[in-house]
């Protein structure tokens, strides 16, 4: 079972308190874009995923805790969390990820 650091509770809690919520930073098309988007763009938004083997940006939901969504960088080969960060913060740069690994 994974131990996951919730950036809102600022605590490490067991995986069973959380729900995985898929790849992070996939932007939902806004109302205006929606009118002109092609099928291909819709497909990209709905179905296509990076599915990265390595450092993956993903969403988690502390649904049995503070009930907040947050983002994380996790290595999908080792399942080790590198960092978690609050919703609304930018995708960490490579430099930030490197720093977090130390």
């Amino acid at each position: 079972m994974l131990l996951i650091h919730c950036p809102y509770c600022n605590k490490k809690r067991p995986e069973v308190e959380f729900a995985y919520a898929g790849e992070a930073h996939i932007e939902r098309p806004n109302g205006i874009n929606q009118l002109t988007m092609t099928d291909e763009e819709w497909s990209n938004f709905m179905f296509i995923r990076n599915n990265i083997r390595g450092e993956h940006a993903e969403r988690w939901w502390h649904n049995s805790g503070c009930n907040m969504f947050f983002n994380a960088i996790r290595n999908t080969q080792t399942d080790k969390f590198i960092m978690t960060y609050k919703m609304g913060e930018n995708l960490p740069t490579e430099k930030q990820i490197k720093a977090a690994k130390k």
Binding site: R53, T76, Q77
Partner: protein, 416 residues
């Protein structure tokens, strides 16, 4: 050499110490007509059918580890074809047709055992949904029948059908033509048969890049054993498909999840069939070695680690004990995980890709073992003709743009 009663007898005389190796370990040639990436049973089967049915023998199967070491050797071997939609019924039933007679065809015992798969209904929704499956299957000429609780008990004596149970058995859908097979044998049998027809099986040969020519078509692959040329490449890399496709600049509608299974200590035969329960969420059968083979669903997060969390096993076993209290005191012997490639509609992708000469067979997720011969044949057909067969045509990549999904996701809730 051909396996037969006589060869078995002759080798018994020499204490079974003189069996020749099943296929040679080869170094790759510089160029092939077709390269298959991934030495699981799907990839090996595709190479076999290319050589045996479609006349292309200058073929290599490149496997990064050892053949069958991926999901082929990690799955719980349930074979069935009672899927809801016409497209799926045709594809999976094609596979079951090929399972019949596969041992003879390959001269290798894949131990296909049609012991029957029983899917239990525990609530009104299950009853309605499974009956719908039975009727839909009947229209597609796929066998599937409805059993009442007493008939379920008769078919599977360890079942407790008393109405006082928390999840009472309200009936079940039984496919008699369904069952299990020996997973390793399927990989080894295809490899041996393909190798005999001239296919090179190359292990410890990870593909690290896909080269394309000036027109954008594939030209060859970079591997751990050097650059190999080929104008046709079939990708059958299961959980690692997204990684391989990225080498050709393609992003796929796939996510890779860990899927676990476990076996108990071996016991005498107690369990005659395969039982699945979507509502309680587990499935079980007994291997020929006597182990109870148990599984359920994937872990919640994507991962390539080939292992999952212990609480999933706990949940899985709680479900088994709920349905079969007689197994409460069994001890579990081993557990393991694989990486399964899951599509948004839980149906596979078998066909062409936007890159010329690049073909794909993926997205089988938690349930592709049953489809092995069918998937392999369809991939081989598509590579040969540069067009899909009518059975795999609906399982194209474009459905995720056009929206014509084959939504088995809604139809089956348990992984198998």
């Amino acid at each position: 050499m051909k396996f037969s009663a006589i060869s078995l007898f002759a080798n018994a005389l020499s204490g079974h110490k003189k069996w020749p190796s099943q296929f040679p370990n080869k170094d790759p040639k510089k160029e092939y007509d077709v390269i298959i990436i991934g030495g699981g049973a799907h990839g090996l089967g595709a190479a076999y059918y290319l050589a045996s049915k479609y006349g292309i023998t200058n073929v290599a199967v490149l496997e990064k580890g050892w053949i069958g070491g991926g999901n082929t050797g990690r799955n719980t071997t349930i074979i069935r074809s009672n899927y809801l939609f016409d497209e799926s019924a045709a594809l999976y039933d094609h596979a079951v047709d090929l399972w019949d007679g596969l041992s003879q065809e390959l001269n290798y015992n894949v131990m296909f055992s049609k012991r029957g798969v029983l899917m239990l209904a525990h609530n009104v929704h299950d009853v309605q949904s499974f009956k719908r499956h039975v009727y839909s299957n009947r229209l597609n000429d796929v066998d599937n029948q409805w059993l009442n609780p007493e008939e379920c008990k008769e078919f599977c004596p360890p079942l407790d059908i008393s109405s006082s149970r928390r999840y009472p058995v309200m009936g079940g859908a039984l496919q008699m033509r369904a069952g299990t097979a020996r997973h390793d044998s399927v990989a080894w049998g295809y490899a041996r048969a393909a190798s005999k027809l001239g296919v090179d099986i190359i292990q410890n040969c990870e593909v690290t890049g896909i080269r394309r020519d000036s027109l954008g078509n594939v030209a060859g692959v970079e591997t751990a054993k050097g650059y190999l040329k080929s104008k046709k490449i079939g990708v059958s890399a299961a959980g690692n498909t997204s990684v391989v496709m990225e080498m050709a600049g393609l992003r796929f509608p796939l996510e890779s999840y860990p899927l676990q299974a476990l076996v108990s200590e071996p016991i005498k035969p107690v369990f005659p069939c395969v039982v699945m329960s979507n509502a309680v969420h587990a499935y079980i059968s007994q291997s020929d070695k006597g182990e109870l083979v148990i599984g359920a669903g994937t872990d919640q997060y994507t991962s390539y680690s080939q292992r999952g969390a212990l609480h999933l096993q706990e949940h899985n076993l709680m479900s088994i004990c709920e349905i079969f209290p007689i197994f409460k005191r069994m001890r579990m012997l081993r557990s393991w995980g694989g990486v399964v490639d899951v599509t948004p509609d839980r149906s596979p992708i078998v066909g062409k890709t936007p890159v010329g000469g690049l073909y794909v067979n993926c997205g089988w997720g938690t349930g592709g073992f049953k489809a092995t011969p069918g998937a392999a044949n369809m991939l081989a057909y598509t590579i040969k003709h540069n067009e899909p067969h009518k059975i795999n045509a609906p399982f194209n990549l474009d459905r995720f743009i056009g929206g014509r999904l084959i939504d088995e996701a809604a139809a089956a809730a348990v992984a198998h």
